[in-house]
Amino acid sequence: MKHTRPTGRPSKAVDALLLLGMLLPIAAGIALKMLLVPASQGIEITGAYIFFTLPLPLGGLPITETQVNSWLVMLSLLFLCLYLTRGLTEKAQTKRQHVAEWIVEQTEGLVTGNMGEYFIGFAPFIGAMLALSAFSSLLSLTGLFPPTSDINVTAGWAILVFILITYYKMKCGPVHYLKSFAEPVAFLTPLNVISEVATPVSMAFRHYGNVLSGSVISVLVAAALQGLSQIILGRLPGILGEVPWLRIGIPAVLSVYFDLFSGCLQAFIFAMLTMLYVGGAFPAEDYFKMQEKKKAKRLQTNNN
């Protein structure tokens, strides 16, 4: 046990610092929203607030609430990972090492179960995507703008997945890839091209639509409850009549479904679809056959 620290246990101060680093980005986001984003008058549904626009040669690059919030989520996740993996020992002793090992084992099990042993290297990517997507959606619990309810974010992820799919389809050479469009019969080629393009589009719209519809419905229900409480309880004397009593507690039930359940479910579904599409795009049989052929050829030339 050469690698263990002399004190045996990692120091508490650094732990506290890392935990603070985990919570500070969220607090910074809330502060930024309070300071810069104008308060909404009554009930309204708006997109991401544009903080400023970077002048670039090809048009301005707007820095929006979406980008800032997703950077904050990334920072928070970075500190969470640092906290979980701090002071690792060969045999798990601390609770956090058990948690970290459980996360890694679950992710690797998920990847090997859905994509096969060949794709074990995908486990970090899938884990990162799950964490980023889930925490981005869960950011709406703090009242901030969830980055996943902006189509630019989910479309970016979907394009990344599309590049991966195309890369794994190209593994047997571009000719094999082009030939796969004409299957099972040649006249279905246009349909195959459409379904190829529809994959990233539907992935982006699915994640974005689910999160956005949740926030739109929450806002509408909150507005309706406010109106209802004004009608029913508006005759109470003084300040009692002005408080929207029905808005207390009831929207929380919706929030549990839309923010907690739906956010985590959509993250899981996005990661699952990524695994299925990328795993399905890889022509495993042809690829391994080609590898064996190459190996046999090499052996033959060596023998000669």
């Binding site: 719209f205 639509g209 689910n210 956005l212 699952m272 679809l273």
Partner: protein
């Protein structure tokens, strides 16, 4: 006259958004069927519960896509289309 034109634009956008969401019927029926079949499968083989649930959630997510396309169209019609059409109208008048 201009108010009438803008009113027609706004009303038609709202009507279009409402009728686009008729597409919500399809995923509803489809997901209902999927969950019913999953319940039957779990009832027949309770030990396969976890894998059936995962597959069902995946299937539901894919079936939901058509409904979400309609949602995106409806959101575009409510938040984007009116401003675009009114600007178009103004630019044609002036």
């Amino acid at each position: 006259m201009l108010e009438l034109a803008i009113g027609i634009i706004l009303g038609c956008c709202a009507l279009g958004a409402g009728s686009a969401m008729i597409a919500g019927i399809g995923p509803g029926i489809g997901e209902g069927n999927a969950v019913a079949a999953a319940c039957e499968a779990i009832g027949r083989q309770p030990e396969s519960r976890s894998s059936v649930t995962t597959t069902m959630l995946m299937g539901c997510a894919v079936a939901e896509t058509t409904g979400l396309y309609a949602l995106v169209i409806a959101i575009l019609l409510i938040f984007v289309a009116p401003g675009m059409f009114v600007n178009l109208l103004m630019s044609t008048i002036s």
